[in-house]
Each structure stands twice: as C-alpha cells, then as structure tokens.
Homo-oligomer: 229 residues x 2
DNA sequence: CTCTTTTGGTAGCTATGGCTACCGATTATT
DNA sequence: AATAATCGGTAGCCATAGCTACCAAAAGAG
C-alpha cells in the first residue's frame, strides 16, 4: 500500500495532496489493482464502466476501432496515465474506447463516486481531488480538440506539416526524433502508412525535410508553415 | 438581474442550486453581459480567454478555421449554451475555437476562478457548481470523442450512414428532419458539399434511403449498419 | 407578388491517397 | 550469432472524393 501511495503522489490526480492525507484516502477510496499480460485488452469499448483506471506499470494504447477492424490510436499510456476519466462522472457510463496493453501492465481501478462525494468523515481532500479531476478532464478535452484539428485537415501534406511543426516546437530544435513508429503515426493522422511514406518521400525530394527512420530534420520551416492546409 | 437568475436556473451549470442561493451567487460571481449583432465574432480562436461564456439569447456557431479559410462547425449554440469551459480551468488559457453569431445574440461572461475557489463567505454552492462543471466538461469531452469517430471514418458513405443512424436513434423514427443544412452537414462531416450530394444521390439510387430537402427516410437500416466503415 | 439570396442537385475533370504486394533493413529473441 | 518478427520504403493500379461551374428550387425581403 505504501508503494502505491508513493507512486500516486506523483500523478496529476493526486497533486497538491499531502503524504498523510493520501495514505488516509487510500483506505477510503476502495481501490482495486489488476495485472494484464502484453497484447491484451484491459477494457473494451462499449462495456460498462468499471471505474477510473490508472496505469501503474507497463504501457498501453487507448484505441478506437470500427466494425471493419480499422483502428486509430488515441493516446499511448505510460505509467501514471489515466483512462476512463471522461465518462466516469456521467450516468450510465460505458467505455468510449478500448485500452490494450503494449507491455505487460498493472492497473489500478478507482470508483468515481468516491472521488466526488464526501465520505462520512467529510475529508477535506475531496474538494482538491475534484478540482484536480476538473483540470485533467479539461486537458483531455483540449487534446481531443487538437486531434479534431489534425483529422479536419484534408490533405496529407497538411497533416504532416502540422505534426512536424508541433514536434519542432516541443523540442525547440529542427532535428528531432519521432515519438511514434510509422504505423502509429499513420494511425494517428488517420492515413494509410504507404501513402504517408510516399508523401514524406516527396517532401524530402522537394527539400522541405530530411529524415532517416525515426529521426527528422526540418529544412524549410517557413514553407512548411504555409502548407498547413 | 432577476431575469438572468430565472434564465440561468434552467441551465446545466446551475442545476441543483436553489433559487435563493442563485440570487446570492450572482453578486459574488462577477458576471458581465455583452451584446453582439448577427454575423459577428464573439471571440476568436487564439485570443486570451475572457471567461466562460453563456449564450443568453440568439444563436451562435463554434467554429474552427485554418489558415486557408476552410472551416468546420464544432457545435451550434442555442440559448443556455456554454462555451470556453474547456480551457477555463487551465493556466494560460486561450480560446481554442472561434464563436460566431448566426443571429444577434447576448452573451454572459463569467470568470472561472469565481466558480471554483470559495469566496470569503465559503458559500456551500461552490462544491455543487464545481461538480456541475465536471459533468459538463466530461460531456464535452465525450462529444469531441464522437466527433473524432466521425472524422476518423475514411469513406463518405460511412460518415453518412453513421450520421443518419444516429439521427434515427435520436428520433426513434425512420423518417426525420436533418438538423443541419447541406452546407453545414458537409462541414460537420468534413467533406465537400457536392461530393456529399453525389453520395446521397447514389444511396437513394441504391434504395438505401429516400430524401427530399431536409427530410430523410431510412429504407434499409440493416444494410446501412454494415456500411459504417 | 416580384426580386434577391440562399440553398440544393448535377456534371465532368482531376488530384489525392488507399490498397496490395514485395523487398530490404532493423530490431528482438533464443 | 542465427533466426524470426517487426518495421520502413517503393511501385502501380484505381476508387474515392475534391473542385469548379452551372442551374433549379426554395426561402426571405421589399
């Protein structure tokens, strides 16, 4: 239990909460921990919500898949990553996406009611926890907004430029390492991998970028900017 | 002021709050009301956040536009509609989208700090208001999730089927009226209007649907279901 | 009721990008 | 170090859907 508390205190959901408070909370919050092997579903889209999930160790992908089996990656969860926060506070909650282990993982589930509704003891940290939740969900919503921006771009070129320029901003360097494999990037931008490779090759030919495997260098930032759709 | 209180009490943000409490709140919350003529920007994407907005009267569209001027409609706001909730609780907040009046409108702005941080009087409704906020933002996030679902579909046919079937579910009737004009629907699905018309004509030809202007009837639900991408 | 504006349908051309298939390179496994 | 599995690049074909342009119908304004 101490191990879990030490871990949780570093996650955004439990920020601004004192060490002692947190230890008290854990008994009150009614948590459950489960283990999953690599390449297994933790939860499947559509199933009834079993609580907010926190990845304690391993790696998992939040994915959305349609009938035909075509899938898009929403996010990659690292330890500390949260999932299921969005529907947690709504009635009749169901998982809006599936979560699939990339590595063998352990997951902590925590029932949403406990976060929000004060327990009998009227612990003071409920307000803090609710506010943290509010921030986290707001951030998620903005992330989705960003995703919508990418998906709304009609041209492949536009998507790639937007993505590269964002990486450039993050790394503050024209040379950077892509955080996704080709397959994943194609999924993320919702395009087919070969088409993406083709377009990247074209951009290299035109002297806009250079790349070798996961390492990319932007050669003409200005021109790339004008190409965002 | 009484007029505003009577109006607000019916909105989701102020649900579960008593009439008397609400009247007290309004003084405490530091609200501002502004008027906007038809076809004007209320806020523009990228500008610093000026507070959470609530549409009191009129109609406005939340839109996202890229450099090239191509725009997509995120939602249509009716009186009572909220905007700016997503970034409101995050530091360095900026408007993630623009809001544009479709009819002349009046808008109430309300500073987010006031919702969350208890005032000196430690009013009991702060907790309720925060919880309402949590629900609203969760819903928004799920809506965006839905939007991502639509945009992730690669075929026009798939998008149309998904949209029609959702309308069918909402109206519980195979015949229904489209809530959007062709232009708007095309924007929403992120496709071009002529291409959409063409596809709808094809679907009519194939006996899947029938339509005249904004009235649509689904003729083969099962087959439509199999076509969602 | 007429005139204007908005909205919706259609046609034809063309670019974009999806898909399959294949091969070489890189990385993981033992 | 050898083998297997994953990953990335390329080619060619072709369906999908974007775009412009134009016309007809409906809705609004005077």
């Amino acid at each position: 239990m101490h191990f879990i508390a030490d871990f949780l205190i570093k996650t955004p959901l439990f920020s601004n909460i004192g060490q002692t408070d947190l230890t008290n909370m854990l008994g009150c919050l009614d948590i459950k921990v489960k283990e999953y092997p690599k390449s297994h579903y933790i939860v499947s889209a559509g199933e009834p919500l079993s609580g907010i999930g926190i990845l304690l160790s391993g790696e998992a992908a939040v994915i959305k898949e349609n009938a035909a089996g075509s899938r898009i990656i929403m996010t990659i969860l690292q330890p500390g990553g949260l999932f299921g926060e969005m529907p947690a506070f709504l009635p009749e909650a169901h998982w809006p996406a599936s979560v699939y282990t990339q590595k063998s993982s352990s997951v902590l589930f925590l029932p949403p009611e406990k976060i929000v509704s004060g327990c009998q003891k009227l612990c003071p940290w409920h307000q803090t926890l609710t506010l943290n939740m509010l921030k986290i969900i707001s951030e998620k919503a903005l992330q989705l907004n960003k995703k919508v921006e990418y998906l709304s771009m009609k041209s492949m070129r536009g998507k790639l430029c937007a993505f590269f320029l964002e990486q450039y901003q993050k790394n503050a360097n024209t040379t950077f390492t892509l955080p996704l494999k080709r397959n994943e990037l194609a999924d993320f931008l919702n395009v087919s991998r070969p088409s993406m490779s083709r377009e990247m090759a074209r951009m290299k030919e035109e002297g806009l970028i250079d790349f070798y495997l996961s390492s990319v260098r932007l050669l003409n930032i200005e021109k790339l900017r004008t190409m965002i759709d």
